[in-house]
């Protein structure tokens, strides 16, 4: 490592490094600039927070063929890809069946089974051109029929797929005329007529009822893997008929125990694949077991290393740790229709007590990124930078007094028992609010109980997972009346501005609208945000080509073992 006194780093570098770590400028750009400013490669990489691995970035190693990658991850049932509800299931299946679009490690939607796509001006008609020459593992050609059959299945309510909400723009909700036990009309959602159009064997056109600029990103989500056109006729069981377009085939499968994938016998459309075999081993839910498995070389990598295990992982000499900042976060959200949170001043008072950077340090140490209470992450392409929020107890007390709580405020937040960072976030927030006279009682409950009431509780801490685009989160969580609008926030100005933003497919063009939307949410103090979480993936040093994906996806086609 270079001696800082001998080779002092250029003063501009630390700030640039922070931008690179947050994804504002590309890593390559940063490394190029750093080199121009006189930093050595080792210094530049260490500024990025990445230990330079010998022989990886500098000298391009020749990948070796062969080997078995052992991964510790929960092995879950994957008999119906349409109803995947855990990211682990997506990982298990993604080696065999593939999506049209794949979100890469930089959170960008890239062509996969779809070669390219265009959208009409009004973003309601999308044409996807499918890759030619792709073969299923049973010899059939991949084409439009497979895509249409898969989508048709997703969009029928009997399947029970989350894709019916993901691709809601292709659906119609009608009143069945019947009433449920509370007298409310029973509605039925199904695919709109003419939503799917086959242009030719390798072109599919989607006709949406409302503009949706995030259609490619939605196609990259883990429940959107394309199955064979005869999936239903052959019994709708992926385990019994694991026909896929991917680089691997299913060899062995036992739920809760292990899953073995072997390299595809035929030709794979995506070029060279180095691994002979991938083995998923289920070690239960105790993170200590995974660390022990690493130590006795029973696994090469795991699904995820939690932030609490980072210190332990770093102490093991045979491991590398990969980190990516994501749009995963947890929000302490208010129900803006219930006392005392219906008064904006109360919400703003609580917001004013928070030191976001300190919150990040308390929860994630040197990792993660500070949040800004508007739920758009620096890794989102349309992120707009706003003036930083500052902790201001005088302002908090003044707002409280104006709202009629000069003598202090007592509230209660609902929080899940595990994972522990969520409780810690609540505790930290409570500590920060104390000097302003706000007493937050933390009501800890098991996960199942929280999810029974996450949309109704007046003040709750909710974990939100990563989504590639900021507008996706806004449409899911803050648009008036949507199912996941847990805060009951309803602002017509916000909604119409969101509609406008939704017409602009270029993130640059969207940024100005996002700046306004972000500011509205921030000013209305709908929630206090804990931080932008990093995800960590640990792997044995012999594994090459691995990285921590923002949504913890497993892309092993170019992974090899040294």
């Amino acid at each position: 490592m270079s001696d800082p006194t001998k080779n002092p780093i250029h003063p501009a570098l630390p700030e640039l490094a922070e931008k690179a770590r947050r994804g504002r400028i590309g890593r390559r750009d940063f490394l190029r600039t750093a080199a121009l400013l006189g930093a050595s490669a080792a210094t530049a990489h260490s500024l990025l927070g990445v230990a330079l691995k010998p022989g990886s970035a500098m000298a391009a190693e020749t990948p070796k063929f062969g080997g078995n990658l052992r991964v510790s991850m929960n092995v879950m049932d994957i008999s119906d890809p349409a109803i995947f509800d855990w990211s682990q299931k997506g990982n298990q299946a993604r080696h065999i069946i593939e999506p049209l679009v794949q979100i890469d490690k930089d959170n960008i939607a890239r062509p996969h089974l779809a070669e390219k796509w265009e959208a009409s001006e009004d973003l309601k008609t999308w044409t996807f051109h499918l890759r030619k020459g792709v073969k299923w593992s049973n010899g059939d050609d991949f084409g439009a029929d497979d895509v249409i059959a898969t989508f048709r299945r997703w969009l029928s309510p009997e399947t029970g797929s989350s894709n019916i909400g993901r691709f809601a723009a292709m659906t119609t909700t009608t009143d069945t005329g019947k009433k449920d036990e509370n007298g409310k009309p029973i509605k039925k959602t199904s695919m709109s007529e003419g939503a799917l159009e086959k242009i030719d064997d390798h072109t599919v056109r989607f006709h949406l009822n409302t503009p949706d600029l995030s259609l490619p990103e939605s196609m990259g989500d883990y429940p959107a893997l394309i199955t064979h056109r005869r999936f239903v006729e052959d019994g709708a069981n992926f385990i019994k008929n694991p026909i896929g377009t991917g680089a691997f085939e299913l060899k062995e499968f036992k739920v809760g125990e292990r899953m073995v994938l072997t390299k595809r016998k035929g030709k794979y459309w995506g070029g060279d694949v180095y691994l002979d075999q991938i083995t998923y081993i289920d070690h239960g839910d105790d993170p200590a077991a995974q660390i022990a498995a690493f130590a006795s070389d029973q696994v090469d990598t795991t699904y995820e290393t939690g932030v609490e295990q980072v210190a332990a992982i770093k102490s093991l000499p045979m491991l590398d740790l990969y980190e990516t900042i994501t749009a995963q976060t947890g929000i302490a959200r208010f129900k803006v229709t219930e006392k005392p949170f219906d008064d904006r001043r109360v919400r703003q008072a609580i917001q004013a007590c928070i030191d976001h950077d300190r919150l990040r340090t308390l929860l994630y140490g040197e990792y993660g990124a500070a949040a800004e209470d508007h739920h758009v992450s620096p890794v989102h392409p349309e992120y707009a930078e706003l003036p930083k929020l500052k902790q201001d107890y005088a302002k908090a007390k003044k707002l409280l007094a104006e709202a009629g709580h000069a003598g202090g405020l007592k509230v209660r937040i609902d929080c899940v028992a595990s994972p522990s960072w969520e409780q810690n976030a609540c505790k930290a927030i409570a500590e920060m609010c104390r000097p302003a006279g706000i007493d937050i009682e933390i009501n800890v409950m098991p996960g199942g109980t929280y999810w029974d009431r996450w949309t109704t509780t007046p003040f709750g801490f909710t974990n939100w997972t990563h989504r590639p685009l900021g507008v996706q989160v806004y449409n899911l969580a803050y648009r008036s009346g949507v199912p996941w609008n847990e805060s009951s926030y309803s602002n017509p100005e916000f909604d119409s501005l969101l509609d406008v933003a939704g017409t602009k497919i270029d993130p640059e063009a969207r940024r100005a609208d996002m700046a306004k939307l972000q500011k509205i949410l921030q000013d209305d103090a709908v929630f206090v945000q804990s931080l932008w979480r990093s995800v960590f993936v640990a792997a044995n040093k012999r594994v090459r080509g691995l990285y921590a994906h923002v949504a913890l996806e497993h892309h092993y086609n170019k992974v090899w073992l040294a």
Binding site: M76, D77, S79, D85, P157, E158, G160, S162, G165, D180, I186, K187, K188, T189, V255, G256, E257, R258, T279, I281, D282, H283, G284, D285, D286, A288, A289, Q290, I291, A292, A293, F294, A295, S296, Q298, G447, G448, W451, D452, W454, P483
Partner: protein
Amino acid sequence: MLSFIFRRLALTAATMLAVSLLVFLLLELNPGSVAVKVLGPYSSEEQRQLWLEANGYLNPLWQRYLEWLGRMVTGDFGESIRFKVPVAEVLWPRLWNTAILAFWTFAVLIPLSLTLGVLAGMREGSRLDRAISITSIITTSIPEFASAVFLSAIFVFGLGILPGTSAMSNGFDPLQLILPVMVLVLYDVGYVTRMTRASMAEVMTAPYIRTAVLKGIPFPRVILRHGLRNALIPPFTVIMLQINWLLSGVVVVEFFFAYKGFGALLLEASLNQDIYLIQACAMVAVFVAVTTQTLADIGYTYLNPRIRLQ
């Protein structure tokens, strides 16, 4: 004896019935929450209603309970939400794994603790006795999760001679059994040893022992021929009751070493709201608990002719 067994069987059945009612009420009282557990928190109201109707949850409570009971009795435990296979497919292999763990734990524990207990109790207050007693108390005081970490730190991280997890993913591997058994034995040996020691010490104060010694019989023969049979009666009961602990109390060890056993299964089922699996595991646990108690009582009568079963 026969009437005793029949009465005990009836008691077992009654206990299980009561527990089944309790379990059913706790988990299936509110059909809405069952739907949420099965379909997940992101399911829509519409999907839940469809599922509830399809699975008979809109019937009255007593009807649902009787149907559920009928299925339980015939061995149809329902389908596991987490594993998406019939519960029986997951339950019996896991139970078998715990049985293997229990067997080897007993294989080490019983000879070890009985020997130590006898050695400690035959001369109460001796240096050997004190050494064994103190060691027993120390090892019993260390909880399994602590000793699991210590032993793992020594053998896996430090010396690197034992595997860190016991998932047995490549088929049965005896090496992977060593650490879990070690932890369990370490935890329980103290308790059984001290029970044996207490019993032995009491026997040694009996007049017939004194007579045997005064008759000039060599001390080892006194122990083995005259003292042991009576001293081992209470430990037998204790050991039988340890079976219960080895079924579900080993959850910490199974979880830590990722050993695919019954305790870990129940824990995973609970954490993941897998209600059919929870119900089945609860019934199995109750059955084992009541059965081992019955067996302990019957065995005790055989060993100790002075006890009459009423």
